[in-house]
């Protein structure tokens, strides 16, 4: 049996999955990135080794905003953007999918699929209102564990109207409503409505949203959000079983295809959990651009370098584009 690893390093969570030849998920991890992506990957890999032993990994795919870093840390065969990864994974679990909503920690995306290929997509531009970080913040402000946050809406009888365009306005609106005495459940329910409105008019603007619709990303755990989407659109929303690690699954699937083609892998092996990774950054003074260069050392040797505009500092891993 061959196994394939998918690593999705996002702003809030670092997800790692192992799939086998039949693309069945053998193990999955959902860890907090906690601002230290390298440590998150390392501890995830150590956990995997504990769970599965030193199984043979035949291919590795990385994705997410930290995909290049993940490549340096584990050694990847495929380094892919998260839109393609999410699209591919959604099609695996719902081959007829026409629309994918993906809401993660800092990003929200919509992917439009037709006949099994991505034909259009959009990501949030300047505003992160309605993404996981904002829900996280509201949950901790209201002193409710984030895991229970969505379930609270099920107890609600009505949705309080909350301003959803801007996270700052939404928060002050929520506080005003709370001070007027509305129940927490109704406020959370209203928040979900507001975020869905914001998502559809912002990220989903001008897109043809057709069922079947797949809802994935960390926020899909929130039952209130799912229900709010269903109320707003009038379609049933499908949340796949592995909704929180779909990006990693997509990356692992691409790794399987790629390593099958080239019959080898760049994976460093599970030994990498004992590797020593350090990063250093400096401002290049070579010209007026004053680029911020980051260097990543693996066991004291330079593993990768990026951040420069001119190419003077790009060595090792090819991170151009």
């Amino acid at each position: 049996m061959n196994y394939y690893l998918g690593v999705d390093v996002g702003s809030v969570s670092t997800d790692i999955v192992v799939i086998d030849d039949s693309e069945t998920v053998v193990d999955k991890l959902y860890l907090k990135t906690a601002g230290r992506p390298v440590d998150a990957i390392k501890s995830g890999m150590a956990l995997l080794k504990q769970h599965l032993g030193d199984i043979p990994i035949s291919g590795v795919g990385t994705t997410g905003s930290g995909r290049q870093l993940a490549d340096v840390v584990v050694g990847a065969d495929v380094v892919k953007n998260e839109i393609t990864s999410h699209g591919i994974a959604a099609l695996k679990y719902c081959p007829k999918a026409k629309t994918v909503f993906e809401i993660g920690g800092q990003d929200s995306k919509i992917i439009i699929l037709r006949d099994g290929i991505i034909v259009d997509f959009a990501m949030n531009t300047v505003c992160a209102a309605g993404t996981g970080s904002f829900l996280d913040r509201q949950a901790s402000r209201m002193n409710i564990p984030i895991e229970e946050f969505g379930d609270r809406t099920l107890k609600s009888s009505m949705a309080v109207r909350i301003a959803g365009r801007c996270a700052v306005f939404a928060e002050s609106d929520m506080i005003h409503k709370q001070q007027l005495g509305y129940s927490q459940d109704d406020i959370i329910n209203g928040l979900c409505d507001a975020l869905v409105r914001n998502y559809l008019s912002n990220v989903g603007k001008g897109k043809e949203i057709l069922p079947p619709i797949v809802f994935q990303g960390g926020v899909a755990a929130n039952k209130g959000m799912k229900a709010a989407f269903e109320r707003e659109l009038g379609y049933e929303i499908y949340v796949p079983a592995y909704y929180d690690v779909m990006g990693a699954i997509g990356a692992a699937m691409m790794a399987k295809t790629e390593s099958g083609r080239k019959k080898s892998t760049n994976f460093y092996g599970f030994d990498m959990v004992d590797f020593d990774y350090t990063t250093k950054s400096f401002e290049c003074s070579g010209c007026f651009n004053m680029c911020e260069i980051v260097e990543i050392y693996v066991n004291g040797n330079i593993g990768a370098r990026w951040g420069g505009r001119c190419g003077k500092w790009s060595t090792g891993k090819n991170v151009a584009l």
Partner: protein, 324 residues
């Protein structure tokens, strides 16, 4: 006399004209490179609501300030009959004077070709007279400038790269059969600092690029006139006409619209174009909004995904490239 020309906004349209004009009048012409220092000082000095290119322009004025005898900040009201430029250009010299203590002289002559009597030679005379009393020399310098400008535009039409077109030894766009269009205001699509060198990134992926300045004016005009109402922003019209004309080109595989955050003209024209593209074609289309971020991750992710999509749609099968 040493004249500073800030490297922003209409620099990316008319620099060859201005440079030649001043040089023929025996002035030295100085520009400053766009870099983080310029960006930082621009953001600090400029009114908060302005778009990124206007802020960068402020940064350039600041970096030239005091180092030259005069800074050329023309008030470009209109460059086409019955049309306007962006409102921020109309008040650019005033904006600068309000935000920056400029110790060099400011040359803020007005270009206004909107009405019946608008004349470029009036503008040239007024500007030139600051340097010399010789009307004949001004006339000649301006004629030479227009000639240079014309030659430059011809080169730009071939290569779509501002820097290469500026140098006369421009190498043509490596001819690739498949093209990706980059739309947007010239000072966004040709400023590789603002746009994170998007043209190079696209070319590296095996496409050549096409920009509005590479499309014939009459074609742009023809397609832009399909709008129910004649509209009056020159740059907006150019982008719209260019975008609509590209929908008919089978060698164009996708359109990327580069917009700077809070651009008023784009908020209407880009949106209109996006709807038209979605309604009347299958063309892959993406808008990228730029602001002062220097982290390229978000930008690259969208660009990679877009090119993936373009390729995927072309092949209509599930094997995608492994890097990017």
């Amino acid at each position: 006399m040493k004249i500073g020309i800030p490297k922003g906004l209409f620099y990316f349209k008319y620099y060859p004209l201005w440079k030649t004009f001043f040089e023929k009048l025996d002035c030295g012409v100085v520009t400053s490179p766009t870099n983080r220092k310029v960006l930082d000082s621009g953001v600090k000095l400029c009114a908060d609501e302005a778009c990124l290119p206007v802020k960068i322009y402020h940064g350039h004025v600041d970096s030239l300030n005091g180092k030259v005898d005069a800074i050329f900040i023309p008030r470009i009201v209109s460059i086409m009959k019955h049309e306007y430029t962006c409102p921020k250009f109309l008040g650019l010299p005033e904006m600068i004077k309000n935000s920056i203590k400029v110790t060099s002289r400011i040359i803020d002559t007005t270009v206004n070709l909107r009405g019946q009597h608008g004349d470029l030679f009036d503008f040239a005379m007024e500007t030139g007279s600051i340097v010399t009393k010789d009307r004949y020399a001004i006339m000649n310098a301006f004629r030479d400038g227009l000639h240079e400008q014309h030659e430059f535009e011809k080169r730009l039409k071939e290569c779509g790269d501002f820097e290469s077109a500026l140098k006369k030894d421009h190498d043509r766009n490596i001819p690739r059969p498949e093209k990706i269009a980059i739309l947007g205001h010239p000072y966004v699509i040709y400023d590789s600092y603002i746009n994170m060198d998007i043209a190079k990134k696209i070319q590296r992926e095996g496409y050549s690029i096409i920009t509005p300045q590479m499309i014939e004016d009459d074609i742009i005009r023809k397609y832009a006139s399909k709008l129910p109402k004649r509209h009056f922003w020159t740059l907006g019209r150019e982008n719209l006409g260019a975008g609509l004309s590209l929908l008919k080109c089978t060698d164009v595989k996708g359109i990327i619209y580069l917009s700077s955050f809070c651009c008023g003209i784009d908020s209407l024209m880009e949106d209109y174009l996006e709807r038209q593209v979605a309604r009347s074609s299958n063309m892959p289309y993406m808008k990228l909004v730029l602001d002062e971020h220097t982290g390229e991750a978000g930008f690259n992710t969208r660009l990679e995904a877009f090119l993936d999509m373009v390729r995927w749609r072309e092949q209509n099968e599930s094997n995608v490239s492994t890097h990017g």
